[in-house]
Symmetry: C2
Subunit: 179 residues, 2 copies
Amino acid sequence: MFLLHHLDHTLKKVKGQIANALTILNLGLGAFAIMFILQNELRLGLLFITIAALTDRLDGAAARRFNSTSEFGKQLDSLSDIISFGVAPAFLLYQAVLFLFGLPGMLLTIFFIACGAIRLARFNISENPGFFIGLPITAAGCILTFHMLLVPFIPAPFFMFVPLILGICMISSFKVNKM
Amino acid sequence: MFLLHHLDHTLKKVKGQIANALTILNLGLGAFAIMFILQNELRLGLLFITIAALTDRLDGAAARRFNSTSEFGKQLDSLSDIISFGVAPAFLLYQAVLFLFGLPGMLLTIFFIACGAIRLARFNISENPGFFIGLPITAAGCILTFHMLLVPFIPAPFFMFVPLILGICMISSFKVNKM
């Protein structure tokens, strides 16, 4: 009886930590992506950001499934998101094409990350209204990432507008329905 | 009279945003540092992380001086800190020496960033107790950064322990007095 109770307690604790473990995995995948970008392995960078996006969907689902949503989990999720869908995609496009433009390319990279941080900070202090306000950073990061595949086919100056427009979409206040 | 009132209102608004502007500057300096690390300009990376650390002291001081501390500012500060004192220092030491160790070097880099995120998430949900619990990420990031200067003088395996120990210090629960 004691053993069963103890097992039940441990199981509950493990379930409570599954969502946070998935969030840390998301952060790790984003950091791996940056490491591959450092080594100029841009396609591996793209792959790891994509897997991070899939993991990001899982952690929220796991938290709801095991009824273990927490304020700590929400904070950790935002800190992981700024790495995997802010820093990693911005530097991926910088290494792929924006570096060609010198300082303006650098400033656009920073603009995208800063807008992502403002979006996440605003999201963290808002009540859950059932819809998103502004483009979520996961979506913006994935759209930016996949633009890398267009680099060989489209003139380079086009890519200056991508982080600019996505950044503005993140901090603007239109509503996006949750999927 | 109306003009004076309007001016006073605008001035209050500007003062309220000074701290947040400094926080965004901190984030930008951290992102610049990562860009220099990408270009293997490690000393410039070190310089920008150091300036970011000075800016980080200023934003808190400005928020208190202008009586404009806010939950949004606190969230934005953490998101900037994970970039400037988590991601940037970790990749600086990775590019300087840890890349020599392959996968273990990568995992230690990620370990440092993950501990920083856990430290910040925990800090964000805690009440202000007048002291820090665990080593603050700004201190850990600066200590990690300055280890880069020791790379020519100390055998490489020593640097495997630095992100490990600093990471553990961030998530441990000893008390550090605020300065």
